[in-house]
């Protein structure tokens, strides 16, 4: 199977869905003529034209809301945020409008829109540009939130998001854009609410989402090499809907869980996952559930400090040893 970058996978997903459905269009800052601030949308303007690949002014609130309005009338917008940090300018449109209009209209209207872009720290751009808001958006009934960790997942989940009839937030990662994974040539879709066991194991469950999955996989390798421990790595892939069954099944099997995320810990995604585990697998636990999250501090600019903020394999490894 050919390997492609995460960036290319996202690009292919958008192109294939635009090819399939004329009502799908893409808009965002620098997506067209500049080929995307991170070159994710390269070639799309040439292929689909300016009617469907649209450069916007720096007006996130305006174009996100415009997308919601267009979706009400039946179009299927893909709204790119240059980064999810900038979605905070548009949060009212996403939460009050995209998420709630279906409910408030008693089901008369639905909003088939995708909001997408990278959401990550780790690139020395400071506190305002490093937000990981999957927990804020996942807190809102009416929104779906997915955080693909690989090119394979990114492509399959973005295609699903575009065909989904409700608002979906797709959170990518600039650090992953250049990484390559095997991606099949043939079309595939990845349904939401299905976690993926990225590594099978029997001794401890490492449950992660987004780029933290890679730290968990690396920690699992270290546990195997250095301690002979078989860790299972569960990639949540989708935050809402959350695949509770896969989480519970894994923890019931291993009896131990370490939750790994780049999200901030306080009211973070893994606070929810931890709750699910105590609720559904309490009697199977041989140790308390542990979390390895970003530190509970704003993102520092300094490179050395920022590396300490984000979880890495070493921290995951040490945390696992503490409960094994």
């Amino acid at each position: 199977m050919a390997k492609i970058t995460y960036r290319k996978a996202v690009n292919q997903a958008i192109a294939e869905e635009m090819q399939r459905d004329d009502n799908v269009f893409l808009m965002g800052e620098e997506v067209a003529e500049y080929n995307g601030a991170y070159k994710v949308t390269e070639g799309l303007l040439d292929r689909f034209g300016a009617k469907r690949v649209i450069d916007t002014p720096i007006s996130e609130c305006g174009f996100a809301g415009l997308g919601v309005g267009a979706a009400m009338y039946g179009l299927r917008p893909i709204v790119e945020f240059m980064t999810w940090s900038f979605s905070l300018v548009a949060i009212d449109q996403i939460i009050n409008n995209a998420a709630n209009i279906r409910y408030m209209s008693g089901g008369l209207i639905h909003i088939p829109i995708v909001f997408r872009g990278p959401a990550n720290g780790g690139v020395n751009v400071g506190a305002t540009h490093s937000h990981t808001p999957e927990n804020y958006y996942a807190n809102v009934p009416g929104l779906k939130v997915v955080c693909p960790a690989t090119a394979y997942d990114a492509k399959g989940m973005l295609k699903t998001a575009i065909r989904d009839n409700d608002p979906v937030c797709v959170m990518e990662n600039t650090i992953l854009y250049n990484e390559e994974w095997e991606v099949p040539e043939d079309e595939y879709l990845i349904p939401f609410g299905q976690a993926d066991i990225k590594r099978k194991g029997t001794d401890i469950s490492l449950i992660a989402h987004g780029r933290a999955v890679l730290a968990a996989l690396e920690a699992a390798r270290m546990l195997k090499d250095e301690e002979g421990i078989e860790a299972e790595v569960v990639d949540l892939r989708s935050i809402r809907p959350l695949d509770i069954d896969t989480i519970v099944e894994s923890v019931r099997k291993t009896g131990r869980a370490v939750l790994v995320e780049e999200n901030k810990p306080f009211c973070g995604v893994d606070a929810q996952v931890s709750h699910v585990i105590q609720d559904r697998a309490f009697d199977y636990l041989d140790a308390p559930v542990k979390r390895v999250s970003a530190l509970d501090v704003p993102q520092p600019y300094n490179d050395t400090l920022e590396k300490m903020v984000l979880p890495d394999a070493q921290r995951v490894y040490k945390t696992c040893l503490a409960i094994l």
């Binding site: 450069d55 900038f86 305002t128 540009h129 501090v297 520092p300 600019y301 490179d303």
Partner: protein, 361 residues
């Protein structure tokens, strides 16, 4: 290249070339003061060149937006301010920082992420602050500073001070809702805030004509019955003259205003910009209006500056910038404890949780 003619036109449309220099705010400048203004611009230029070099050597990371080409805007406008006047800007903030008197050392060290930086290495290029010098940042979210500028003006008026706030923003930032809301608040409540649009004709790779309806940008003020003007932002005297008028109105009547300063950025948006959205010819043509060269020529014509003096200033600025890079290089990294400080002013109840995290490091 329809957008590029305007900067020249605005000079021509004043009372004829040369007349601008006679405005009282410029006429009363001593030779030393004029040379000082020239020096400020040269210092910014050389500082930025060293920051680019350090970025290429990977000593600076993240984003680094240079001010090269726009020096006359910050230096000219800030030079007319008094003790109670304040400044706030976006992420392209190195020029404003130096113009308010921040040292090259603290600025360069911040770019290097060092402990000796103005924000101890925690803010980075886009987030410089110096409240003691009436400089309130350095803001990374496009348009995010515009309500803050109105808020600073509100506080000044509330406290009975006679000062005003200069709030800078880019030509791309004018399309943020926050800016429009701020304009209405400023006009409705008569807040002494002057919005200075630094129109460098591009927001990243988008030319100004592709992002904004209506021209000139400053005309948006009319909807709010607010004063506005379009200024050659490469002409230091003109910047001073027009800013001084607006500042005076703000002091006397709490009148807000929009001043559009037309200028150009000579370098890419940040450090990794292939600049395919504009031609080399366009950039070269715009460099003919280099604000530093223009002002140097003016001062030479006035007999205030000669080639030798200009050279000396340049050498000194280079040496100072080089020294700041050495200073930054040799400065320590912020210690890990710094992760857990400066989050709250009053963190008594949160200290325990922060300490617990520190223990785990």
């Amino acid at each position: 290249m329809s957008s590029t003619a305007t900067a020249n036109e605005s000079t021509a449309s004043a009372d004829g070339v040369g007349a601008v220099a006679l405005a009282p705010v410029n006429a009363r400048l001593s030779a030393e003061e004029k040379i000082e203004l020239f020096r400020q611009m040269v210092r910014i230029r050389r500082f930025e060149e060293f920051s680019i070099r350090a970025y290429q050597q990977r000593k600076i990371g993240g984003f680094c937006h240079t001010y090269i080409g726009q020096e006359a805007v910050a230096v000219g406008s800030i030079s007319v301010l008094g003790a109670d006047d304040h400044i706030i800007t976006a992420y392209r903030d190195h020029g404003h920082a130096l113009a308010v008197g921040m040292t090259m050392n603290e600025c360069m060290a911040e770019l290097y992420g060092k402990y000796t930086g103005c924000s101890k290495g925690k803010g980075g290029s886009m987030h410089f602050f110096a409240p003691k010098r009436n400089f309130w940042g350095g803001h990374g979210i496009v348009g995010g500073q515009t309500p803050l500028g109105a808020g600073l003006a509100f506080a000044l008026k509330y406290l009975g001070k006679s000062g005003c706030c200069l709030c800078y923003l880019g030509d791309g930032a004018v399309n943020q809702g926050a800016f429009h809301e701020s304009l209405n608040l400023a006009a409705l409540w008569k807040l002494p805030v002057i919005y200075i649009i630094e129109n460098n004709y591009y927001s990243m790779g988008t030319s100004q004509t592709r992002s904004s309806a209506g021209s000139p940008l400053a005309k948006r003020a009319e909807a709010y019955d607010m004063e506005w003007d379009v200024i050659n932002g490469n002409d230091l005297y003109e910047v001073r003259e027009k800013t001084e008028q607006a500042v005076r109105r703000a002091h006397e009547d709490h009148a807000p205003a929009i001043l559009e300063m037309q200028t150009y950025r000579f370098r890419g948006h940040s450090m990794s910009d292939p600049e395919k959205y504009r031609t080399k010819d366009e950039v070269e043509e715009r460099k003919q209006n280099d604000p530093i060269i223009l002002f140097r020529r003016t001062l030479e014509e006035e007999g205030v500056l000669d080639e030798e003096a200009a050279e000396t200033i340049d050498q000194e600025a280079r040496a100072e910038a080089k020294a700041s890079a050495d200073f930054a290089d040799q400065s320590p990294e912020p210690p890990a404890e710094e992760l857990f400080t400066d989050i709250y002013k009053d963190d008594a109840q949160l200290r325990a949780s922060l300490e617990a995290q520190k223990q785990k490091l």
